[in-house]
Symmetry: C2
Subunit: 314 residues, 2 copies
C-alpha cells in the first residue's frame, strides 16, 4: 500500500536525486563507491517524507525543506552502516551490507562520509534556521549513538525492564523520526506550537514504528523485509517481543527454538495481539498531536502516512 | 621544548576542561567511558593552540575561540579513533587504542560520539559565524575521510608519485591544521585577508608537520612517540620516506629489513637530509604567510609554535 503515490513518489524521487549529488566517485572510489551504493538503494524514505510533509503542512514549500529532508535520510544511512557492522548484519534492503561487500575499514569510512554529507546537506538549508536545526540534528545524532550503546549493553542482559526498553527505542529510533518532523516544521516556517506538536507526532510514530519493527523481525517475510528474519533474536537483542516472552515463559529458549515454534508461542500467549495494541496506542497518540494543527491536505497526508506505517509488512 | 609555557599551558588547560564537559558517563558507560578515556589523554593540543593563537593574533579573545578550538581537537580525536581501527594500531599516546582496550563496536561508536560532540562544541561558537564555520568544518571532515581513503588505497600500490603523496597528506593532515587557524581567525573577528593568510599558514605548517611525522615513524624513540615505531612501514603506507627510498633503492626490502638497517640506508643515501629540507621549506613558506599579518605578541607566539613543531621529537 502506498497512499498518494503521485505526491509521495515525487518527494521520494527528489530526495533520491539529492542523495546522489556527490563528488565524482572515480576520484576516490574507495570512499565514494560504497556511499553511492548505499544512497542508491531503494528505501521507504519515511523520514524525508515526514520532513517534507511536515514542512508543507505548516505552509512551507518542497524547495525549502528538501535539503534538510535529505540530510535526515543521510543521517539514517550513516547509522545503518555503522550499526550493521556492530550487529554483524550481512544484508540490508535486500543487498549485502557495506562491510560484507567491501570490508570493515571501508564501511567505517563510508558511515563517516555519510554523516559528513548529511551535515553538508543540512547546512544548505535556508540560513536563518541553520543554527537551530544544526543543534537539533547534532543532539539527535548523539542520542542515536546513545541508543545504539544501550542496545549493545543490553545484549548481555537476561532481560530488561520495559522502561529501559522504551528509553532505548526512544533514543535509537523515535528521536530521529521526531527530528524529521520537527526540522520540516521549523524550515517550513511553522509556528512554535505547530513545531512542538509535529515533533511529538514524530516521536510517537517512531515509538510505534520500532515496536512494529520488533514484531516484523519475527513475522515478516524475509524476501519482503530485505534482511534476515530473526536477527534480533539471534543477537539476543532486547525487543518488546523478547521482554514480553521472558515475562510469560521465562524457560522458553528462544535462541535455540525454531521460528515456527517461536511464532506459535507468541500467538498462543497473546503476545502478538498485546504488542500490536501497544503500537496502535502510539499511533493513536501521534494522531492526537497531529489533530492540534490547522488541518489541510498535508496534515491529511501525514495521517495517511501514519496509517500506512501501522499496516506495513516491511 | 615548550615555548611560552605559561600561555600555552593555560590554553591547553582550558581546552582540556572543555573536552571533559560531557554527559555523566555512568548513565551510558559503554558510550561515554571510552570518550572520557580518549579526551583525558595528554596530547600536544597543537590544533586548538593554533586556533586560539590565530584568534588572538587578529584581535579576538580566548573566550570567543575556545569552543571552536575544542571542536577541532574533538574532530581530530574522532579521526584518530577510527583510523586506529582501520590501520590496526594498538597504541596511541602511550595507551592502548579504544578498539584494543574495549572492542571494535565500542570504538566505532566512540569515534561517532566524538564527532557529534565536536559539532556540539562548534555550534556553541558565537552565532554570527556558525553557518560559515560549520560549512568549513564539514568540508574539512569530509576531506580527512578522503585522505584516509587515499591512504588505504595506496597501501596496495608498490609506490606512488610525490604529487599523489602531497595530495593525500594535504587532505589527511594539512587541511585540519589549516582549518584550525582559519576558524580561529574567523571567530576572532579577523579581516578576510588575515583569515586567508592564516589558513595558508596552517596548511603549510600541516604539510611540514606530516612530512616530519613520516620521518618520526622511523627515527623517533618509541617511548617518547607514544606509539609503535615503524608502524607506517609495517602497513606498507606510502610516506615520503618510502617513496624516496623506493626511487633510490628499488630493491631494498624495507618491510623485512630491521629498523637499524633502514635508518642506516636512509642516512647514507641522504634521504633524511632531503626530507628535513623539504619539511623546512614548508615551515618557511608558512612563515611568509604569517609575516603578511600585522605583527603582535600572538603572531610571535604562532611563529614560535611553528619553530617548536619543526624541532619536535614526537
Amino acid at each position: 500500500m502506498n497512499p498518494h503515490p503521485a505526491l509521495f513518489d515525487q518527494i521520494r524521487a527528489r530526495v533520491e536525486r539529492e542523495m546522489l549529488d556527490l563528488p565524482d566517485p572515480d576520484r576516490i572510489p574507495l570512499f565514494y563507491e560504497p556511499i553511492y551504493f548505499i544512497n542508491r538503494l531503494k528505501g521507504k524514505k519515511i523520514r524525508p517524507l515526514l520532513t517534507v510533509l511536515s514542512g508543507l503542512a505548516v505552509g512551507g514549500t518542497i524547495e525549502r525543506v528538501l535539503k534538510p529532508a535529505t540530510a535526515i535520510e543521510l543521517l539514517h544511512n550513516f547509522s545503518l552502516v555503522h550499526d550493521d557492522i556492530m550487529d554483524n548484519d550481512d544484508t540490508r534492503r535486500g543487498q549485502p551490507t557495506v562491510h560484507v561487500k567491501w570490508d570493515l575499514g571501508t564501511a567505517i569510512l563510508a558511515g563517516d562520509g555519510l554523516l559528513g554529507l548529511a551535515y553538508r546537506k543540512l547546512l544548505q538549508s535556508p540560513g536563518e534556521f541553520i543554527e537551530r536545526i544544526a543543534k537539533l540534528f547534532t543532539d539527535a545524532m548523539l542520542e542515536i549513538c546513545e541508543g545504539q550503546a544501550l542496545d549493545k549493553t543490553y545484549e548481555s542482559a537476561a532481560t530488561i525492564s520495559e522502561d529501559k526498553y522504551l528509553e532505548m527505542i526512544g533514543k535509537k529510533t523515535a528521536c530521529l523520526i521526531s527530528l524529521a518532523c520537527e526540522i520540516g516544521a521549523i524550515v517550513g516556517g511553522g509556528e512554535e506550537k505547530d513545531i512542538q506538536n509535529l515533533a511529538s507526532f514524530g516521536y510517537k510514530i517512531g515509538m510505534g514504528f520500532q515496536i512494529q519493527d520488533d514484531l516484523l523481525d519475527i513475522f515478516a517475510d524475509e524476501q519482503t523485509l530485505g534482511k534476515r528474519v530473526g536477527s534480533d533474536m539471534a543477537m539476543n537483542k532486547k525487543t518488546i517481543v523478547s521482554i514480553r516472552l521472558k515475562a510469560i515463559a521465562p524457560e522458553f529458549d528462544f535462541r535455540n527454538a525454531g521460528m515456527k515454534e517461536l511464532r506459535e508461542i507468541l500467538h498462543e500467549e497473546g503476545i502478538v495481539t498485546q504488542i500490536q495494541l501497544m503500537a496502535e496506542k502510539y499511533f493513536s497518540e501521534a494522531e492526537t498531536y497531529l489533530s492540534r494543527l490547522n488541518q489541510n491536505n498535508y496534515t491529511g497526508y501525514l495521517k495517511d502516512l501514519a496509517v500506512y506505517l501501522l499496516k506495513r509488512d516491511k
